[in-house]
């Protein structure tokens, strides 16, 4: 093994994955291409769109700007880790029920950003919701249904 790669342990959705990675792979690359967790999307690959958002130790983070080798020892939550026993998380269900999904590319990142907000602030105002998702760009919906879907679960999660 040369100096450009290494073996790392990643804690993703409560499971430990031991894998060989190259230093220049981002966490996004590894989640999608090595672990097959394609729920996290690649949008711009440069930290502007938020499609690659995952929760690291509960905080929304851009996986395209994290080197996989630097992601060890953290609790990583992807959209796949949100549903339990095949049941959608209330935020996911709300997006479905209220039609807050069009192409779906922004959706996993949006939902995780919303979850992080509600975990720390269970009763946000609409303004606080909009501020929390300001790093998740949506090219389809105009955000109205997304904000509605998040507001609809306020007080119902956690």
């Amino acid at each position: 093994m040369n100096n450009h790669s290494g073996i790392i342990d990643l804690n993703v959705n409560g499971k430990i994955y031991t894998i060989k990675v190259k230093n220049n792979w981002s966490l996004l690359d590894v989640l999608r291409d090595e672990l097959g967790l394609t729920g996290t999307k690649r949008g711009c690959d440069e930290g502007e769109c938020g499609a690659c958002t995952v929760l690291i130790n509960g905080k929304p983070t851009l996986s395209c700007l994290i080197l996989a080798v630097a992601a060890q020892g953290q609790e990583i939550l992807t959209i796949e880790g949100l549903s339990e026993n095949g049941e959608l998380h209330p935020i996911q269900q709300s997006f479905v029920d209220l039609g807050a999904i069009q192409c779906g590319l922004c959706t996993p990142g949006m939902i995780l950003s919303a979850k992080a907000l509600l975990d720390s602030n269970p009763h946000p105002t609409e303004e606080e919701v909009r501020a929390a998702i300001n790093g998740n760009l949506c090219r389809c919906t105009g955000y109205a249904k997304i904000v509605e879907a998040i507001m609809a679960v306020v007080g119902k999660t956690g």
């Binding site: 230093n23 938020g50 929304p60």
Partner: protein, 286 residues
């Protein structure tokens, strides 16, 4: 664009990190939050052979206040930590305002105050309030530690005086006398780079301006103190005519490229608005 390959090193202490920088010099880049470095590498602007990851150095992540030392912030403190810090809100409100308008939720969870300063971009969002508060920086290098004023640290667009050194701490002089501060970043979304960003601090006694600090970013290769404007305000009564006349002198303090003349106009507007806002906040530690 795929990142070029590199060796990844993760020192556990400042001393180890300095030693790596001294060994690899120009072939190494430090990474903290990575929100600038990785973007630049992805665009092909940088291709270091060694990446020195200083995130594990937890001793550089703190916000401390004490009567003697003042307010000190570790260089690896995340912008989100600054937003959530009661001490910073209380002692240095415009730094809180700048941190709140920084990037996006995700970027604030990753980016560090040290990274923002060391990237030394002309539009660095945290720099203007730090200039207003006479921030002092502690640097650690192969030849030991030195302290420099932030004002002297950034030397040009993207350039600073680091010489195989690491920024370890930012110290802020907390103004003990009643004063007002204000900050504004002009842009459509917080995610945008600032068109102009500006911080103001003012002390007013008997309706006269006793002391004032005005710092502007994105209007010159480095953030600047609008010293001619400040001079025109000191000792004068605070009223709209005095402020109007003083802000005209901003043309002597800033140097936007000529095609950005609107920045001169916007700087004047911002300064006026922020002085007025700072004056309304007088009396408290805001």
């Amino acid at each position: 664009m795929i990142l070029k390959e590199f060796d990844y090193l993760a020192p556990q202490t400042v001393a180890e990190a300095v030693s790596l920088l001294e060994t690899y010099k120009d072939e190494a880049e430090l990474i903290a939050g990575g929100t600038d470095l990785l973007v630049m590498m992805r665009k092909g602007a940088l291709a270091p052979k060694y990446i020195v990851d200083i995130k594990p150095i937890s001793s550089l992540d703190y916000v401390k206040w004490d009567e003697k030392e003042g307010l000190t912030i570790g260089a690896l403190t995340k912008v989100s930590t600054i937003v959530n810090s009661d001490v910073i809100k209380e002692k240095c409100f415009s730094l809180y305002e700048a941190a709140e308008s920084f990037g996006t939720t995700q970027i604030r969870n990753m980016a560090t105050i040290g990274g923002n300063i060391c990237r030394s971009a002309p539009d660095a969002d945290l720099v203007p309030p730090l200039l207003v508060f006479d921030a002092e920086l502690k640097l650690m290098g192969p030849r030991g530690e030195r302290t420099v004023l932030l004002e002297n640290f950034i030397t040009g667009a993207g350039e600073n005086i680091l010489n195989n050194e690491i920024l370890t701490q930012i110290k802020i002089s907390v103004q003990k006398r009643p004063h007002g501060t204000a900050y504004k970043k002009l842009g459509r979304l917080s995610e945008d780079l600032a068109i102009v960003n500006c911080a103001v601090g003012i002390i007013v006694t008997d309706n006269k301006c006793e002391d004032v600090r005005i710092a502007l970013g994105a209007v010159a290769p480095t953030a600047v103190r609008a010293k001619k404007v400040e001079q025109s305000l000191k000792g004068r009564e605070i009223n709209s005519k005095v402020i109007e006349d003083a802000t005209k002198r901003v043309t002597e303090d800033i140097a936007p490229r000529t095609k950005f003349e609107y920045k001169v106009y916007t700087s004047k507007m911002l300064i006026k608005g922020l002085i007025n806002e700072a004056v309304t906040r007088l009396g408290g530690s805001a």
